[in-house]
Subunit: 344 residues, 2 copies
DNA sequence: ATATTTTAGGCAATCGATTGCATTTATCAA
DNA sequence: TTGATAAATGCAATCGATTGCCTAAAATAT
């Protein structure tokens, strides 16, 4: 295994009888170098197959042009799309993206964040795990003057940049739509209330009902139904009520909505006629179920781009006062057949 | 913006009146250090909020415990799952994962690979872009003695580790299944033949037909149908043939199969009775279409884990002769309603 | 009590690129 | 022709951690 050493600027310098500093200047396109020399260095570097050692450069410059990302799961539609959008922006800027997944576990989240701090990344982008714990690890990021951008699931009390969906708004619009379609007993599938996104969605649900003068009935609010199976289970119980709902808003996810739909289909309850169903996230599959599922689009790729742009814009004119800036992405209701009783 | 300097080993050394080397030894758990001293250093480091500077360490040690990944699209089901599986393994080993997407463009792939080489990562994991070009960039990786693991879509002529699905096998099994279900004119939707995975699937299709004595009919093989739209278009044309197929194997993707299904549904052609449909990849949605779609599972998360394990195993007992090792992941046919005419 | 081995810790070079400052060379003005 | 200025290049320190080599002290053997 012949380990051919990498070419360094010293190798180039020696070959050209120059100082390493000149080579460095030529490569970094400094203006303190003669045009001819620069051309010569560039040519020689290419010939010698030179590739800069990023670690040396970063060490000396004291910064690492890298953005670290920590998400619960990489292979979840929403997150993988955010990452895709973010990567688009970071790549254009010549930045790298380092990715960790927390698997919804707090301990892994902490480990991931620390690893990124060690790398001295210039920014950490995070959506916190469902399993909440202390947020010392995030405070540390701030103390070290590493930019912190939280998105979607955030620690509210921490003063950082935040990029959020307006969850209350999304839920509100969904429920208003259900009411306008003539549904009168609208049930809610809730997510874990430790996460503010689920609290906000619940608020939106309540706000809409109140605005239209509907009662808020606790028997129609079902806690912790955020998978397909739990959604199905919740549906079975809700439909067994003496006075069952005529619509179910699965505010947790489209997967929960899918569980609802399956139960309805199995029981022969026609959707949308006898039961309206609305999900959250606009997963690709919602378009192709029968009937297709009404849901809320979160513009995930766009959200990723927004995060990236936020970082690079702040880098330039970093404003100490702006540390807490919050960007809101307005979600959009996607009306499909599972709630469409009336012609629009 | 007060920029409080990071604590370094020198700070700790000074505080304890020790040499930096001793601090380093204590932190790296060397055996050349007294147990008490070690404990003291560890305690002080924690108090002073010390975090190692990974760049300095990596520079000195000449390696970067990082695996770089280049895939066409991060947010594609198959790839995001492979990455998730890979991350699982790399994280356990304390390795980082750096991710780039090529967007199917050769130029971006080259840029991404070069960025990773600059970072001096210890391994590059790649699935090449559909837009093929020279593979000098990959040759360079090898020349620099960085491990290269190709997966799924590979440059065959390059001697590297490869982790593959047995595409021929998968396609073969699918077509045999169709034949056993009584389908007699089985059409094939092909992907770009520059990519070997699509060539192999075609081979599997042909092999199955031949084995059962069926003719290979070029009019039933439709090139480049690898999106939903192209799949639908292909189906329309195939069904307009004087002697149309009674089954369509969308070897390119489940999305193409979905396009087939939609056309069939629109035309009122019953599936699976009059038209059998089989996709490829086992996308989540194939389970919930009506009818559900028969497809081939690629064990993507498992594939990611295999890639990671391959790297770490080879690191230990690196065997020069083993440079070309190929791991095959055997795909599995998932039979669903879109091809099920007979009771099993 | 002396010689030998272990153990703990210090010194200083090193990884490769960058950069402030010093120096040389070229250019121009007087 | 000489002095002043600008341009190009060299020198050497630096970023922070690691590690080979060396020395002093402690532990063990003779």
């Amino acid at each position: 295994m012949k380990r051919q050493k990498r070419t360094t600027i010293y190798d180039i310098a020696q070959k050209l009888s120059l100082a390493a500093s000149s080579v460095s200047r030529a490569l970094s396109d400094s203006n303190k170098i003669n045009a001819e020399t620069k051309a010569l260095v560039l040519k020689t570097a290419a010939e010698m197959n030179y590739q800069q050692n990023a670690m040396a450069s970063n060490l000396r410059k004291g910064n690492n042009p890298t953005i670290g990302v920590v998400v619960p799961r990489i292979n979840q539609y929403f997150f993988s799309n955010v990452i895709a959008g973010l990567e688009e922006v970071t790549f254009k800027q010549g930045y790298n993206l380092v990715i960790c997944q927390s698997n919804e576990l707090h301990a892994r989240e902490v480990e991931g964040v620390n690893a990124l701090v060690n790398q001295n990344v210039s920014c950490i982008v995070i959506s916190i795990a469902a399993e909440k714990g202390s947020f010392d690890h995030l405070q540390q990021v701030l103390d070290r003057n590493i930019q912190l951008i939280q998105f979607d699931r955030v620690v509210e009390e921490l003063e950082t940049f935040k990029v959020l969906n307006n969850n209350k708004q999304g839920a509100y619009e969904a429920v208003v739509h259900l009411i306008e379609q003539g549904y009168r007993r609208i049930a809610l599938l809730e997510g874990p209330q430790e996460l503010h996104i689920f609290r906000e969605r619940k608020e939106g649900y309540i706000a809409a009902l109140q605005e239209y003068g509907f009662p808020i009935l606790s028997e129609l609010m079902y806690a912790n139904a955020w998978t397909k199976e739990l959604g199905a289970q919740a549906t079975t119980q809700l439909l067994d009520l003496p006075n069952p709902p005529d619509a179910i808003f699965a505010s947790t996810s489209d997967f929960a909505a899918l569980g609802v739909l399956e139960v309805a289909n199995n029981k022969g309850i026609p959707t949308p006629e006898a039961l309206g169903i609305c999900g959250y996230s606009n997963e690709p599959f919602t378009e192709i179920t029968s009937p297709s599922i009404t849901t809320i689009d979160q513009f995930s790729v766009e959200m990723g781009r927004k995060i990236g742009n936020l970082h690079f814009r702040e880098m330039e004119n970093f404003s100490p006062e702006g540390k807490t800036k919050t960007l809101n992405v307005r979600p959009k209701l996607i009306v499909r057949n599972s709630t469409l009783r009336k012609l629009q």
